[in-house]
Structures are given as structure tokens and as C-alpha cells.
Subunit: 257 residues, 2 copies
């Protein structure tokens, strides 16, 4: 099977036009089939503030009411997605930006109301892998924003890490998929104060050890859970790497079961 | 050659969710290959107001400064485009929303500064007809928003009527193209106060006559100029019709050279 690189970037890179440009230079150098998944970034919060809309949080989680959804669609599917696509086109990369509604790419359902009503948040039901296969076959580079739809006309806000994982799983039937979470460090650091202490390879046993000794803590713990979930669900290789190295074969920290 | 229907809708339909839904019901009934081009609508102006950004006008023309461009990208390529795509998907129409940057679909250059500096407004250089041909061949329905790019990373605001005309011209090499301008009346009226006075067929000579006798006036004059420009540049048929009749063969007012 051919190799497919799925790369996810988050808010810190999107918020900084210089970091974003550095990342896109590295991304466009990736050989073969590739998909970019981007998160939200500060634009949504800034737009909410300018419009006098309060960001609603319950237990540290953002609630997507109707107004917040409109802002998410405007910034994620609009400004961020098209800015990235135009930049990639300027680098001679044949990018096409898509939401989950486009071509019924990612169908989801509104999260059921439990203890918390998250509002217009979508949990993924299925990925239209056929559409991605045909776009990749035409040497197009899909750029996915974190907006999905329920196939009944409702757009929904969906976590970008989850989209990257779901697309990885769906595409693993057609490609050997490498999933790369790209962030501001060049890999996972053994000592946060030492940028040279990148951990090259992490097995599942080693990960458990890093968590128990506190080397992996806070936000790193759900990220590692995502990584091993992806490896158990079709990913051939998963790594966490820096913005300048996504085009390398095994950049940053590579994970293995 | 196969037939292709290119339908353009403007702000008045986009602003009214009921009219939009009626239109989309008629649009999805169009048989064969079809493309939807949408304009801006009120969302951009409303967002500008909420953000405290003044709409800049010179000689009745809107000026697109950097802030206004961001708002145009957010509302046209984001909220409006994705709302339409999600609605079409709900009607089992395999729509994909695209800006001119996506797949390098519409390349433009920033309008030269003359007596007026229009700001980030793009005049079209070329349409990637190959991409549209391959999407239509895969039975996808492209939904185009009025944002283009200069292939150097700059997004640009571009008139939707002009996009519809440029796409018509480019696609006329591959299809017999019918261009339909869809609006709130069921056709061009001979007497504005009589909705039944629809003019069925207008030749170029008849149009000149209607203009000289004042039956075509104001906004109708540039529209008629667009229509005959399209007919001289590849369109097989051009009509102006109401929201409920776009799926009919010769709806509303049909123009011929």
C-alpha cells in the first residue's frame, strides 16, 4: 500500500503567521499523498470578543451555542481554512479546503445532552473515504477544518484531533497512514527545560512509565491516549513533531504499540 | 455536448432562509451537471456592524480594506457557503463548497489602483476548468463563493455575477452552458406592478428597445449587459428567473442574441 501522511496542527501554530508559514513550507515538502487537518485558534475567540459574545464554559469545556457555532464556521471553514489553502497554493501545492459538509466528507450527530449540554458539537459517525481516495488520486491535498454536519442541514463543531484520528482510521483501509501531530516543540521532551531532550521512540509500556513518573503530565496524557488509540485503529505510525520537520520520515517523537 | 446549468443567486435570496430553502429545492431538481454561484448577502454587513467596522464606500462602490476582506472570507467562504452546502447535502445533493483558492479554481489579480483604490478586489485571470470538469464528471455539484486568490497567497473579493460569467465562458468549451440568474421575481416584468407581465423572450434588438423606452432601467441595465456578454462569450442560453423555477427548461425570461 502507498503511504499517506495525515498532519494535524492546532491553535498555537495557526495564531502565529510566521510559525504557520514555516510549518506550511515543511508540509508542502512531504512526498506522496497528504492531508492537513487544522484546529481553531484564537480567531474565533477574538471575533466573539469583538461581537460582544461571551465564551461559555462548563467544567472547563467550551459550549457551542448557535452564535458560537456561526463564529466557528466563519473562522474555521472561512478565514483559517482559506488562508491556509491560499498559502499552500502560493507554494505550488494543489490544496482544496473542505468542511465535513463538503461532499458529505464527515457526517456526525449532535452530542446527546447528558450532565452537560455541549450545544452544537458533533460526534463523528462516518468519513467519506471514497471522496478522499479520489481527491488524493488526482494529486489534490485536502485541508480539513473542524466543522462537520449531520446530513440533515445542521453544521456542527468537532474537535480537530478527533477528526484527524477518524480520518486516519477510515483511510487505513486504502493507505499505510502516518499520523503526525505537529506543535511548537520538536518532539516530546524528557525535560521541559531542555529542548534537546527529545524522546525519539515511545512504546506503550514506556508511555505508561512516563505517565507514572510524571514525565508525561497534564495535556500530554490525553494526547498520548489519542496516539495509542490511533495506532490500535489503523495508523501505521504516529509521531509528535515540530513545525519544521513534518516532511522528515520519522520526525520528533515516534510512537509504537 | 452535454448540458451544464450554472445558477447565480444574490443577497436577497441568501438573506431569507425561507426563500433560500425554496430556491435550493428547485436547484436540486435540475437534471444533469450543475454549478451554483452565490453572492454575499447581509451577513457581511451585519458582522461589520457588530465588530464596529465602518462600510467604506466611494462613489457608491464598496471598498475592501484588509478588515473588510477578512469579513468577506468569513461570511462568503465560511458561513454562507457551508450553510448552503449542508442544506444541499440534506436534500441528497452531493455539493462541495469552493472558493477560488481551492484547487486554484479562480485565479485573479488585485485591481489596479486608478481614480479609486478598491482595495482587496480581484479581477479574474483564469478559471481552472479542468477541476470543474473532473468534479462534474464525478457527479459533484460545486458551490462557488465570491472569493478568489492571486496564486501568491492573497485572497481577493470578487463580484459573484462576474464569477458566474467567467465560469460560463470557461465551461462552454466542454458543455452547452445555460446560465440562470435567479432572483425574487419570476422573470423580467414588463410592468413592475404586474407580476404576470413576465417577458418570455428578449432578443438583443428587443433589449435595446426596452432600454430606450424605459421598461429596462436602473439595476436591470448592467444585468442585461452581463446577459448579452455571456451569450457572446460561450453561453448557449441565459435566463433571469424566480427561485421556484430554476429546474425548468426555459424559466422566466430567456435572452437570445
Amino acid at each position: 500500500m502507498e503511504r499517506l501522511s495525515i498532519v494535524k496542527i492546532g491553535g498555537k501554530i495557526i495564531n502565529d503567521s510566521e510559525l504557520l508559514d514555516q510549518f506550511l513550507n515543511s508540509f508542502q515538502k512531504i512526498e506522496g499523498a497528504k492531508v492537513l487537518v487544522h484546529g481553531g485558534g484564537r480567531a474565533a475567540t477574538e471575533l466573539s470578543k469583538k461581537m460582544g459574545i461571551e465564551v461559555k464554559m462548563i467544567e472547563g469545556r467550551r459550549i457551542t451555542d448557535a452564535e458560537t457555532l456561526d463564529i466557528a464556521v466563519m473562522t474555521y471553514a472561512g478565514l483559517i481554512n482559506k488562508t491556509i489553502v491560499a498559502s499552500l497554493q502560493a507554494k505550488a501545492c494543489q490544496a482544496i479546503g473542505l468542511s465535513g459538509a463538503d461532499g458529505n466528507l464527515i457526517q456526525s450527530h449532535k452530542r446527546e445532552v447528558g450532565a452537560v449540554d455541549y450545544g452544537f458539537v458533533g460526534d463523528i459517525d462516518k468519513v467519506n473515504d471514497g471522496l478522499l481516495v479520489s481527491l488524493l488520486g488526482a494529486e489534490v491535498v485536502p485541508v480539513l477544518c473542524p466543522i462537520t454536519h449531520n446530513a440533515q442541514g445542521q453544521l456542527l463543531n468537532t474537535n480537530a484531533d478527533t477528526i484527524a484520528a477518524a480520518v486516519t482510521q477510515a483511510m487505513s483501509e486504502h493507505y499505510r497512514v502516518t499520523l503526525k501531530y505537529c506543535f511548537e516543540y520538536n518532539g516530546v521532551l524528557e525535560r521541559l527545560d531542555d529542548p534537546n531532550s527529545i524522546i525519539k521512540l515511545v512504546t506503550e509500556d514506556a508511555a505508561k512509565n512516563y505517565i507514572s513518573t510524571g514525565i508525561f503530565s497534564d495535556g500530554m496524557i490525553p494526547k498520548v491516549e489519542n496516539v495509542f488509540h490511533a495506532l490500535r485503529n489503523g495508523a501505521d505510525q504516529v509521531s509528535i513533531c515540530g513545525i519544521n520537520y513534518v516532511h522528515e520520515k520519522s520526525p520528533g517523537t515516534t510512537f509504537t504499540l
